[in-house]
């Protein structure tokens, strides 16, 4: 009888709603390759929000660099790509990855498809729900280094999907300053990006570079 109960307890623990893994297990290729310079391609926008693309691309550099990476300035990269006659991300997907290394010196390229970008703005609070598929690929081996394909919600009221900390800060910043919707949404978009990047190992410029293999991360079932 005792055995059955403990087996049931184990089953409950294992099946739970969320699984955990470590960064080391989730993204071993990042630790092997140690990419320094990352090029972020303009995202493919499949959401109904017309401005999702701009929100995404202008708010990714800050959190990605704070994770310790050299992020090539998106504005200049875009200009150069346009000068080369490349306007659509769809066309850029056909470029062999090693070209991004030869041409820009990037060690990895971040590909992003925005599936959903919902913004809600109420009188005293707002929220952004992002569903994006992100994949970091090596320009040296062509291999996938890291990916993300879950939904993230951040809002100004401080109750985020499972995460605290910065949300409270943003809430204060936003609610004390009654500003226009865009001025509220840039920090929200930035924090959605920050959350998306939580499972990415730290890069060279982060104080905890190469010391975060054991960091636990949430692993939800793929949708």
């Amino acid at each position: 009888m005792k055995t059955i109960i403990s087996l049931a307890a184990v089953a409950l623990l294992v099946s739970g709603c969320t699984n955990y893994t470590t960064k080391g297990e989730f993204a071993p290729n990042v630790y092997d390759e140690r990419p320094k310079a990352i090029l972020v391609l303009p995202p493919i926008n499949k959401s109904t929000a017309a401005d999702a693309k701009e929100y995404y691309i202008t708010t990714i550099t800050e959190p990605l660099s704070n994770s310790g990476y050299y992020v090539l300035p998106t504005e200049i990269v875009n200009d150069i790509l346009k000068q080369e006659g490349l306007f659509d991300t769809e066309t850029m997907l056909a470029i062999p990855l090693q070209k991004f290394n030869e041409y820009f010196g990037a060690d990895a390229v971040l590909f992003v498809t925005i599936e959903k970008w919902d913004t809600q703005f109420l009188l005293t609070s707002g929220s952004v729900t992002v569903m994006a598929t992100c994949e970091l690929k090596s320009t040296h081996t062509g291999e996938s280094l890291w990916y993300y394909d879950k939904e993230v919600t951040v809002n100004t009221s401080g109750t985020t999907g499972g995460m605290g900390g910065w949300a409270g800060l943003i809430s204060q910043v936003v609610t004390t300053a009654v500003e226009t919707a865009t001025q509220d949404y840039v920090p929200l978009a930035r924090n959605a990006n920050e959350k998306i990047l939580e499972s990415l190992p730290y890069g060279l410029y982060h104080a905890k570079f190469d010391q975060d293999r054991g960091t636990k991360i949430e692993l939800k079932e793929k949708k």
Partner: protein
């Protein structure tokens, strides 16, 4: 003595503010906001605001004991080049390479594109 302590306390309060801030790898000021505004609506005003922000980040980073963030020298130099301020612009591009050696190929690319555009 009392006055000094008071001033210290006051400036501490002013600097620290009431909002708790977390220590990030880099200081980015309002970069995301001004870049968004410029991307969304590229005008002289939004460009000027973004340029001002880049300069603020360049000045403020060392005050906070931080390295100027990736791409900031490059972006500022790139804008100066577009304005025809060649010497100054190239100087900032070189500063980017100075603190980020991995930017060598990228900066060389910007310089090549600039030289090509001049012809």
């Amino acid at each position: 003595m009392k006055a000094t302590a008071g001033i210290c306390l006051l400036s501490g309060l002013l600097i620290g503010g009431c909002v708790p801030s977390k220590d990030t790898t880099f200081y980015w000021g309002d970069y995301s906001q001004t870049l968004y505004d410029f991307t969304k609506d590229p005008t002289e005003e939004t460009l000027a605001a973004h340029k001002e922000q880049l300069l603020l980040i360049i000045k403020e980073s060392p005050n906070r004991g931080k390295r100027v963030p990736p791409g900031v020298y490059a972006e500022y130099g790139y804008i100066l080049l577009k304005e025809g301020k060649e010497k100054e612009g190239l100087g900032y591009l070189n500063m980017e390479m100075g603190i980020y050696p991995e930017a060598l190929i990228f900066i060389t690319r910007i310089k090549d594109e600039y030289a090509r555009g001049k012809k």
